[in-house]
């Protein structure tokens, strides 16, 4: 298989070669070319595809053959044409990218709008925040507001209002804690629980199953009852479903046979 390299700069030269040789390319190679064309992001027309192939071969064969005559004007026109095409593709790509960016920006703006509360409520909040905070100087201590810029302060003010609303429902509906500590504590608690479970119910603890335990009880009791899985509907749901399905299938099969 021929190895392919993108060579945009040598495109005019290859165009030259194309004019020389009207040789049709083998099918396999043509497929390769098509792929290559796609990779480059150029329209994979026959004109763009063939020269590359020729070029590769030309390395081996065309060395001893003399280049054929070509008028300067036609070569120039050809080259200009090529140059224009390249410029156009670059331009098109740029505009596409611009459009994409524009669309994304619009989406962002729209999302932001959706997150925000309606204007009337926002207006209410900003007016309410000033009075509310004055009423509760104790709560202000919790959040250090002084060092923050004007904008930040405004943001936290609105947050403060929300917190206060929750507090009015119940005095202590939140607790401040460091998440890092909590994670550590949770993981330790999980480990402790795992230890106790492992030492009581882990391997080597001689546990039986509840079903066996109940059936043993039933075996020894003077009044024999049905097994637990028949009395308790919550037990063995999967197995019961499987059995039902099997029964249905078996009946269908039987119907077909007779």
């Amino acid at each position: 298989m021929v190895q392919l390299r993108p060579r945009a700069s040598r495109a005019p030269a290859s165009a030259e070669a194309m004019v020389d040789e009207g040789q049709p390319a083998s099918e396999e190679e043509e497929e390769e070319e098509a792929e290559h064309g796609l990779l480059l992001g150029q329209p994979s027309s026959g004109a763009a595809a063939e020269p590359l192939e020729e070029d590769e071969e030309g390395d081996d064969e065309l060395d001893d053959e003399a280049p054929e005559e070509l008028t300067f004007a036609s070569a120039q026109a050809e080259a200009r044409e090529e140059e224009r095409r390249v410029r156009e593709t670059v331009l098109r790509d740029k505009t596409l990218l611009k459009e994409k960016r524009k669309r994304r920006e619009e989406l962002f703006i729209e999302q932001k709008k959706r997150k925000l509360l309606p204007d009337t409520i926002l207006a209410q909040l900003t007016t309410a925040s000033q009075t509310d905070i004055k009423k509760s100087p104790g709560k202000l201590k919790e959040v250090n507001l002084q060092k923050k810029s004007e904008e930040c302060e405004k943001g936290s003010n609105t947050k403060k209002v929300k917190v206060q609303k929750v507090q009015s429902v119940s005095q202590k509906s939140y607790v401040a804690l460091r998440l890092k500590d909590q994670d550590l504590r949770d993981s330790r608690q999980q480990a402790a629980k795992a230890f106790i479970h492992d030492s009581l119910y882990g391997p080597g603890t001689k546990r039986t199953t509840v079903n066996k335990f109940l059936s043993l009880d039933n075996k020894r009791s003077p009044v024999k009852k049905a097994a637990a899985q028949f009395l308790n509907n919550a037990w063995g749901v999967q197995r019961k479903q499987n059995a039902k399905r099997f029964k249905r299938r078996w009946m269908v099969r039987k119907d077909e046979n007779f």
Binding site: S170, R188, R207, F213
Partner: protein
């Protein structure tokens, strides 16, 4: 007695959480029990083993240790690493304090009761000083390599023993350093196990340390020399708990096989002074692991994964052979978990973290007495309401009209409005509950569902008027000055004029709802109230106490009724007084004013006030008299107590309409089917 159509409900899928710790308080004769979901219950052993108080559980609070200190203060510690103190008056948690040693496995109070010792996951043993209103960290003992699972204090307070994995260490309290380390044998019947967990230690005053471990051994060690003195192999599985009597002449151990062994110090020969520990009695009252035991002066107390609390009196310690000497097995909580909407035939079931609303089925068939009628419409599961957050539900209620549901956790009260449109049901949460409604011990709706009564744990009662989709706070009855006792039981009269409330010990208060003032207080009785109800029309308040006494008190007249005086004069039947589960619910028949309907876990009773009371010679539990007998015979044998024991264990029974009852049962087999697996035992012949 009258004939009733009975809805026999067995779909209340309630499994009580397993018992993790018990702690016995000798001074007040009370027993604290903690469960695996963090619930702590207080049983009053002198008041007929009644569960008088409880503290709701919390998801993250797996209680591993429970102890009484400084007389009547109750502490617990758990796997979240916190030590909690409970306020036994206001029924809430006073404070939680982090011990900073990871999960706590064990906690014990010093013999003087002024210090608290905790053993942590990271191998540290920490000493806390108990101050009047808090606890304060004092110092650490020498850190151990592995978690400290059990602790015991020498009765003189100079040494402690700590059990870890594979070894027991003995500490000197003054210096805080380990003076001995006794390695426990891992071998179990010749097979080496991975590790040997010392589940419990006990330090005796003669210096002996008794240890129980996961290899099934009870071992006696000499703490002075650090040597093994004696070893008893008693179980094929773990021995999980130990408790020693105060006199140090007997101790009790509990095993994972469900057996409880009693060890006693007996003389070697009949007249020698040399004494020896001997395994005397095995008791098999449990089917699953016995996670904890306690030794009261007269009884062995054990609890475990199978959710039973067993109190086994020791016959040699009991002076009078009365009914108190009988074995007690407590499985179900002594409070109501079910409420019922009569109008819509709905049942509300309360679980630890959710509520379930069911509509009862119905039948078109008719039959004669004793027939089981086929259902034409099955019971419907209408609603599954999950709580937010880790706290357990304390109480819940559905309004008689079925359109309001209220429940409370330890920090919030929730109110929901239900709308029924044909077969659809929609739920609307009523937000902005007032700030003073933080937690409720009991919630009750008035008969016409326009008022909500909330008993908060500060002793106050709130009355809230319910409007369509909103509410209005009407009034708050403040507790009498100087008392902080929480109200646990509420009853409202059907006409909505009277509200009765009772706390854990003081008498029953009756309030006038119309004039918003205290009407009267029923004289206090020695035993706590277990159930309250106000009869329609007559406004008689019927009160059941934990010693099975039933009083009837006329609210308008402010005195006991004639019938109640008669009953007290003549006394109840001795078999009635010997019933061991409290009466948890009282209701009335709208058409028969002479009837009182009440039930406990094992019987349902209708008291007919027009009939003569039974004396001790008559048969209390009379079966239905044969119909072909003469009327005279029936009248002679008939007495006021009509008792039915068909439904058991009975968690709830109420009258839906004149001829219909609903009974909620919870068979024990269904509970066992949902418990963790037990230890395998070989039974002969199976």
């Amino acid at each position: 007695m009258g004939e009733f159509k009975v809805h026999r409900v067995r779909f209340f899928n309630y499994v009580p959480p397993g018992i993790r710790c018990v702690a016995y308080n000798n001074q007040s004769n009370r027993l604290a029990v903690s469960r695996t979901d963090g619930t702590v219950e207080i049983y009053n052993l002198s008041a007929n083993y009644f569960q008088e108080k409880f503290f709701p559980g919390h998801e993250s609070r797996a209680t591993e240790a429970l102890c009484w200190a400084e007389g009547q203060r109750l502490f617990s510690a758990g796997l979240n690493g916190e030590i909690l103190e409970y306020d036994l008056q206001a029924l809430n948690i006073k404070y939680a304090m982090d011990a900073f040693g990871g999960p706590i496995w064990s906690m014990i109070a010093s013999p003087s009761g002024s210090q608290l010792l905790v053993g942590c996951e990271d191998g540290s043993v920490k000493l806390f000083q108990i101050t009047p209103d808090k606890i304060q960290f004092e110092r650490n003992f020498d850190p151990q390599k592995s978690r400290v699972l059990s602790l015991s204090w020498h009765p003189s307070g100079t040494h402690i023993a700590a059990g870890s994995i594979d070894y027991i260490s003995v500490f000197d309290v003054k210096s805080g350093s380990a003076i001995h380390k006794m390695i426990v044998d891992r071998q179990y019947m010749g097979v080496s196990k991975r590790k040997c967990i010392v589940w419990g230690v006990a330090f005796l005053s003669d210096g002996t340390v008794i240890s129980v471990d996961s290899a099934g051994k009870v071992q006696f060690w000499d703490s002075a020399t650090g040597t093994l003195v004696k070893s008893h192999l008693i179980a094929n599985a773990d021995v999980q708990s130990i408790a020693v009597a105060d006199q140090e002449d007997s101790f009790v151990v509990g095993t994972a096989e469900g057996t409880v062994f009693h060890f006693q110090l007996v003389s070697v020969t009949s007249n020698s002074t040399e004494k020896q520990w001997v395994r005397t009695k095995p008791f098999q009252h449990h089917t699953h692991d016995v996670r904890t035991v306690a030794h009261s002066p007269t009884a062995l107390i054990s609890g475990g994964t199978d959710t039973h609390l067993v109190i086994r009196p020791l016959m040699e310690k009991v002076e009078v052979k009365n009914y108190d000497a009988a074995l007690r097995k407590i499985t179900f909580p002594h409070r109501r978990l079910i409420s019922c909407s009569r109008k819509r035939q709905l049942l509300l079931f309360q679980f630890a973290h959710h509520l379930e609303l069911w509509r009862l089925g119905s039948t078109a068939a008719t039959g004669k007495n004793g027939d089981i009628l086929p259902l034409s419409k099955n019971a419907d599961h209408l609603l599954h309401l999950k709580t937010k957050g880790p706290e357990n539900i304390i109480c819940s209620s559905i309004s008689p009209c079925g359109s309001w549901i209220a429940y409370s956790t330890a920090s919030r009260v929730f109110l929901y409005r239900l709308n029924y449109e044909h077969d659809n049901i929609s739920l609307q949460r009523i937000s902005k509950m007032p700030a003073f409604l933080r937690s409720a011990l009991q919630i009750l709706f008035s008969e016409d569902s326009t008022k909500l009564f909330v008993a908060s744990n500060q002793g106050s009662l709130h009355i809230i008027r319910l409007l369509e989709g909103s509410f209005k706070h009407l009034h708050t009855f403040q507790p009498q000055s100087g008392t902080v006792e929480a109200m646990c039981l509420l009853a409202v009269s059907p006409d909505g004029n009277w509200l009765a409330a009772s706390g854990t010990s003081a008498g029953v208060h009756v309030y006038n709802v119309k004039h918003l003032k205290l009407h009267c207080t029923v004289p206090a009785y020695n035993f706590p109230v277990t159930a309250l109800a106000i009869a329609p029309n007559t406004n008689n308040l019927v009160i059941a106490h934990s010693d099975q006494q039933v009083f009837e008190y006329s609210i308008p007249d402010k005195q006991y009724t004639e019938w109640s005086r008669n009953v007290q004069k003549q006394g109840f039947h001795h078999l009635w007084l010997q019933r061991d589960t409290p009466i948890t619910h009282i209701s009335f028949h709208p058409k028969r004013p002479m009837h009182i309907l009440l039930h406990d876990a094992y019987m349902f009773c209708i008291i007919d006030k027009s009939l003569p009371l039974p004396n001790d010679k008559t048969v209390l539990y009379n079966p239905l008299p044969p119909t072909n007998e003469s009327d005279v015979f029936r009248r002679r044998t008939g007495h006021a107590f009509k008792i039915s024991k068909i439904y058991k264990p009975l968690l709830f029974m109420d009258l839906l309409d004149e001829g219909t009852l609903v009974a909620v049962e919870r068979p024990l087999d269904d509970i066992i089917a949902q418990l963790p697996p037990p230890i395998k035992k070989k039974k002969f012949g199976t």
